[in-house]
């Protein structure tokens, strides 16, 4: 009890009396400032920009150039097909969400833990809530820019027809928001795994890469063996890609899905579950420093 008294009287007895004790800025205000700061830092880090921001765009360009000669992709015999680029666009949008969230944040935060950034922040009155708002906000800002760039290049340079139906864009919008949020939280959660900043890419990239191969980003999902499809269904990327296909592919293409349906309800449930997992793991594992390791 005497400690409480000491705190209050102590503050008025310091040599800083003339400045008074102004109130600390709120968590949300600092969080908003963190978003701008983080976005600036992201675009000044060439590795992050290349491997998480531009990568899906480059892959879409390569796929379009490499496989266009093989002809259109059709949902069934004698059905109307679409170009390779059009087929892969939803997968690349999903990959972008995963890279901007999971790969970017897991590597970034593990690096900040390793190089002393987090320890320094932990010694300031920055709230972890503001810190996470900054990280998640950064993923949203760069994720939106990335998706916009992908769609722009797809529509112009690659001549891919984009949906005109508002419902398709509504589907895109909610899958995107939910997917990016889930990816960002999973990235924060995964950042606890690497033992050092240097090993972060070695730990994170294989996980992200394997997921992209089995979840219908680089390989046509309908052509994967069923056991592989089932494994992929446990993880969120498959559902992001499926949600994006529902938004961008013609309705006939749903016959290529596992249940011959888009299953948007399942997409929402799977992503929400992973969002909660990400939130809980982040909450439990995050430390400014490895205390007494």
């Amino acid at each position: 009890m005497s400690e409480t008294t000491t705190t209050t009287t102590g503050a008025t007895h310091t040599g800083h009396g003339s400045h008074g004790r102004a109130t600390r800025p709120g968590m949300l205000r600092i969080g908003a400032a963190r978003i701008g700061f983080e976005v600036k830092g992201y675009f000044r880090s060439p590795d992050a920009v290349f491997f998480t921001f531009l990568f899906p765009l480059i892959m879409l360009g390569i796929f379009t150039a490499a496989f266009s000669a093989a002809g259109d992709i059709q949902p069934g015999p004698n059905a109307e097909g679409i170009s390779v680029g059009a087929y892969y666009l939803p997968g690349m949008l999903a990959a972008g969400m995963l890279l901007s969230g999971v790969q970017n944040l897991a590597v970034d935060i593990a690096g900040e833990k390793g190089d002393g950034t987090l320890k320094r922040l932990g010694g300031t009155p920055l709230s972890p809530v503001s810190y996470f708002l900054g990280k998640i906000g950064q993923v949203f800002v760069t994720g939106v820019l990335q998706a916009a760039l992908l769609l722009l290049v797809a529509a112009t340079l690659l001549g891919i027809a984009l949906p005109t139906d508002p419902d398709a864009w509504l589907t895109f919008a909610w899958v995107f928001v939910l997917g990016v949020g889930t990816s960002a939280l999973l990235g924060i959660a995964l950042s606890a795994l690497p033992r050092s900043g240097k090993s972060a890419t070695a730990v994170v990239i294989p996980i992200v890469l394997v997921l992209q191969f089995i979840s219908g980003v680089y390989l046509q999902f309908s052509q994967l063996p069923e056991w592989m499809q089932n494994i992929a269904s446990v993880f969120p990327l498959k559902w992001m890609a499926q949600g994006m296909r529902a938004a961008f592919l013609p309705d006939d293409f749903k016959v290529l899905e596992q249940t011959q349906e888009w299953d948007l309800g399942l997409v929402a449930i799977a992503l929400l579950l992973w969002l909660v997992v990400g939130l809980v793991v982040s909450r439990l594992t995050f430390r400014w420093i490895r205390r007494d390791a």
Partner: protein
């Protein structure tokens, strides 16, 4: 409603830092083994000791980074194990060198950090105080080691802390930069900032510290005013010379001139290899470390 009570000068109110019986063990091995210390408000206290002596562990417990095993600690009236953000807003922490990627400019980084605090210093004044005006628009990654260290110090003081922790702040500074830094610290001191400094440079401790403490093997072996550390005996001048057979002689005396005169009389001439040494803080420190049986390795680090 006895509001006059705390002003009657009990140590808990006056102390910025109060430590009683502090212990920290890692897997049964004590890194900090029973430290008691009070640091008054406005005081600059220098904590000395070889690497691995428990200096950093002690400071990190005070900063709230580590949890103690036993003992009582109060920093600005708060237990650092439960320090909240308002408490952190009153501290400034300059850690040992960080290796951040440094994609922000000096000014961007400081402006951003200043936002966390209720009553920050003016960013330009801070940049000027650490002598980085020319580099304000340069990315931190492009700065030299000494310049980066100045950014660390700037980040530590931008929040106008009541209590400033400085962990080996001038490592990598050239002599001129160190003197400028000392000037900066004296300015903070004049404003009433309490400072806890850990350093390997004993002249720095002598220049800045009101008091100093020496940690060895997790214990504070000596605490006192910098010019009193080691006690009077440790400061008695030493006279060294060689007798006519060439054997080294050494004597400690409060009257070295009289001793030299008597040696000259005895030898009937100039003694070979004559030296009169007044032990510096460094000599006293090294003697304490040596007598406590610390490793030679650590002494070298202390001298570096």
């Amino acid at each position: 409603m006895d509001i006059t009570a705390p002003a009657t000068g009990n140590s808990a109110t006056d102390a910025a830092i109060r430590i009683r019986g502090l212990r920290k063990a890692y897997g049964g091995v004590a890194a900090v083994d029973g430290i008691d210390l009070d640091i008054a408000r406005g005081e600059t206290f220098a904590l000395l000791g070889p690497n691995g002596a428990g200096k950093s562990t002690t400071v990190e417990i005070l900063e709230g980074y580590r949890v103690r095993t036993a003992g009582e600690v109060s920093v600005l009236g708060t237990d650092p194990a439960h320090g909240d953000l308002d408490w952190k807003a009153r501290l400034g922490i300059v850690l040992q060198s960080a290796t951040e990627s440094g994609v922000y400019t000096v000014r961007e980084q400081l402006t951003h950090f200043a936002r966390f605090y209720p009553d920050p210093r003016d960013v330009d004044e801070v940049i000027a105080a650490v002598g980085l005006e020319e580099k304000a628009r340069t990315r931190i990654s492009k700065l030299s080691g000494g310049q980066r260290r100045r950014v660390d110090v700037a980040l530590g003081i931008v929040g106008r802390p009541e209590l400033l922790f400085l962990d080996e702040p001038t490592t990598g500074f050239d002599p001129e930069a160190r003197r400028e830094f000392w000037q900066l610290i004296r300015g903070l001191k004049a404003e009433g900032t309490t400072i806890l400094l850990t350093t390997h440079y004993l002249d720095e401790a002598a220049q800045l510290g009101d008091r100093a403490g020496i940690i060895l093997g997790g214990r504070l072996v000596d605490v006192g005013r910098v010019d009193e550390l080691g006690g009077r005996e440790a400061r008695v001048p030493i006279v060294r010379w060689r007798d006519p057979s060439g054997a080294p002689r050494e004597e400690r005396t409060e009257a070295p001139a009289a001793l030299v005169a008597s040696v000259v009389r005895e030898l009937g001439g100039e003694p070979a290899g004559l030296e009169v040494i007044r032990p510096s803080l460094e000599d006293i420190y090294l003697e304490l470390v040596r007598s406590a049986g610390a490793e030679t390795r650590n002494e070298e680090e202390a001298l570096a």
